[in-house]
């Protein structure tokens, strides 16, 4: 499988009045053709900043690339000019945003919003672009596209708007699709439809999808590989099976344990006590140490290296060090966690 995207040692900071916020610290991942990589983590863990930096949508300043590279087809896009990026955005990669209620221009017909990119990138005439727009609407499952193409976003329902946003992202047939919490603002039945749609498109076009979410149900449904982010770092990555059945990092355990379960007798919602670290002054050691039930002395002092437990699974945790005591993952995280 061809490698579409490779992120190496990426660090991004924001300069605020309160000081420098190190939102993303030394992040590495890659994405292959036809594959879905899910990035999970709680709010403020750096997921959105990471993917927006891939699209170069962060405003700089206040943002700043501290180090690292983002290779797309082997080319580093971190230092491309705005003009060069215009040809990459939409063309090479498309993006789907979280809230379909606000991500469409309310005063422009949906058809025009879809065809805009086509006219710019593929030099299509208005008629050709409209033909293609109709095709796209059909592809994303909007019924009656001939009528819908001339409507405004407020005439669409939430789910249909997200379909329209997907149609915009797909318009120029990008190889990479970045979906920033595409189902968070939708109700559950629509969520399933949208995920189904993404999977369907992926199998037709071999698109590589980076899926950001904090919903592990979505991950189990849609992802091939998972990267768990915490405090601006990726703390664990692995295939979806590895993350769900052999999680190694206590934060992953916590995430899995916080998933509501139908057969839980008590019916209490589990949570991870504490709150994420302040990234203005990130901890020297493991960012999760302060909330980790198994934290050791070394955790506060040094960031653990990645330890490979298989060719695909890597975990940054001192518990995996041979000198550390053996800690078994809590039992509750597997209950009802079957896919």
């Amino acid at each position: 499988m061809k490698k579409l995207l490779e992120v190496n040692n990426l660090s991004i900071s924001f300069h605020t009045y309160g000081g420098e916020v190190q939102a993303v610290r030394d992040v590495n991942f890659d994405l292959h053709e036809g594959e879905t990589l899910a990035i999970v983590g709680e709010s403020g863990s750096g997921k959105s900043v990471t993917v927006q930096s891939i699209m170069r949508l962060l405003s700089m300043p206040p943002g700043e690339f501290k180090s690292g590279s983002i290779l797309m087809n082997g080319e580093d896009i971190v230092h491309k000019t705005e003009k060069e990026m215009e040809n990459i955005r939409g063309q090479e990669m498309g993006m789907i945003f979280q809230d379909p209620m606000t991500s469409l221009n309310p005063t422009m017909k949906v058809g025009r919003q879809i065809t805009e990119g086509l006219i710019k990138h593929q030099n299509m005439s208005k008629e050709e672009a409209k033909e293609r727009g109709l095709e796209l609407l059909r592809l994303v499952g909007i019924p009656n596209p001939e009528r819908r193409i001339n409507q405004y976003p407020h005439e669409y329902s939430g789910g249909m708007r997200q379909r329209a946003v997907i149609a915009i992202a797909l318009s120029c047939d990008p190889k990479i699709l970045i979906a920033d919490e595409p189902t968070t603002a939708l109700d559950v039945t629509i969520q399933a439809q949208i995920l189904e749609l993404l999977r369907d498109i992926q199998s037709k076009r071999k698109t590589g999808i980076v899926l950001i979410t904090h919903d592990l149900g979505v991950v189990a449904n849609a992802a091939d590989r998972v990267a768990v982010m915490y405090g601006g770092k990726i703390v664990e990555t692995g295939t979806v099976d590895e993350i769900f059945y052999q999680p190694k990092h206590p934060y992953t355990w916590g995430l899995l344990g916080s998933m509501p379960k139908v057969d839980d007798a008590k019916g209490d919602l589990q949570s991870i006590p504490g709150s994420p670290p302040d990234l203005k002054d990130p901890p020297k050691g493991c960012p999760f140490a302060a909330r980790c039930p198994h934290a050791m002395k070394v955790c506060d002092q040094h960031m653990p290296d990645y330890i490979e437990s298989s060719s695909t699974q890597k975990t940054a945790c001192w518990l995996l060090d041979e000198r550390a005591p053996k800690v078994a993952p809590p039992e509750n995280i597997f209950a009802g966690g079957d896919k």
Binding site: L57, E82, M85, G90, N105, T107
Partner: protein
């Protein structure tokens, strides 16, 4: 659409009825009359004058007569300007006010919107601060002070433009600027904040993610949405320009309608007061209707129909 406009026209007639009624009785309640002056008029003559203009009739008869005449768009003769009807005074003076008003509205809208967008694009940079200092000055300096300053600098010191009167385009420049500055500054601030809102909105990100250039994103997706609050401000803008013109026309000795209006009040020229008031009201009500229609055309979420539930 047609139904909506018809409905609005009915509202306009109802509002006008109330405006005419209230002005009529307020005016009668004010002390003095058209024929009171420092030199006492002999009672016999005053009686004859009252007779001639129908002022000796009971109030309700005067009121009824007036309503009937207004409905026929006839405002009667002026009490003070001999041999002139109110209609002819309006016809003579309104073109000056119209030209001045349109110039001022054009200035306020075009420069105000431009400044607002400019400030938003250079948010928290020098351009933003400069534009906003200008806007704050524009809002805080009253138009009559600005008018005299403009006259002093451009007409008196630099001799570039005529100081007063209204005979050519050059004459209209200073009063139009004086009249436009306050609403212009207000529009600039309005436009800036709504543009900042729009620039931070998700659909601007979507537009950028499509690979559109910064310029296209701003023009096609930004300004069109950001201008909506400014469109709804056009109604109040017309009011600001109208009331501003009362003062500005006096300062620049422009024989416009605002000037006539002020003059008629000091003269207790009943028919002219009523006539100009009704005329200004019609102007205002119609312009608000036009603004509402334009708003419906620009923002597709607002549907113009006669039905309430839409």
């Amino acid at each position: 659409m047609l139904k909506y406009i018809l409905k609005r026209l009915v509202y306009i007639v109802v509002s006008l009825f109330f405006i005419v009624t209230i002005t009529f009785f307020l005016m009668q309640a004010a002390p003095g009359g058209p024929f009171t002056s420092e030199r006492k008029v002999p009672p016999k003559i005053e009686e004859q004058l009252n007779e001639a203009y129908g002022l000796n009739e009971p109030l309700y008869i005067q009121y009824k007569d007036y309503l009937v005449n207004v409905a026929k768009w006839d405002f009667g003769p002026s009490f003070k300007q001999k041999g002139q009807s109110v209609n002819s005074i309006i016809n003579r003076s309104f073109p000056y006010s119209l030209i001045l008003g349109l110039e001022a509205i054009f200035l306020a809208l075009s420069i105000g919107v431009f400044l607002g967008v400019f400030a938003a694009l250079y948010h928290n940079k020098f351009g933003d601060y400069a534009a906003m200092i200008f806007a704050v000055l524009g809002i805080s300096v009253p138009s009559f002070i600005l008018a005299t300053i403009l006259q002093y600098i451009f007409a008196f010191k630099l001799q570039m433009l005529p100081v007063a009167r209204f005979d050519s385009f050059a004459h209209s420049i200073l009063p139009a600027i004086a009249l436009a500055t306050t609403p212009l500054a207000f529009i600039a601030r309005l436009m800036r904040s709504s543009m900042l809102d729009v620039l931070n909105s998700d659909y601007i990100k979507t537009a950028k993610a499509k690979g559109l250039s910064g310029r296209v994103t701003i023009y096609r997706h930004g300004i069109r949405n950001a201008i909506l609050p400014v469109i709804s401000y056009i109604g109040p803008l017309v009011i600001a320009i109208l009331t501003g013109s009362f003062i500005i026309e006096r300062i620049f000795a422009i024989p416009g309608l605002g000037n006539e209006f002020v003059e008629s009040i000091t003269n207790r020229d009943y028919t002219v007061i009523m006539g100009t008031t009704v005329f200004f009201s019609v102007l205002l009500l119609v312009s608000i209707l036009i603004v509402d229609i334009i708003y419906g055309l620009i923002d597709p979420r607002i549907k113009i129909t006669g039905k309430k539930e839409d």
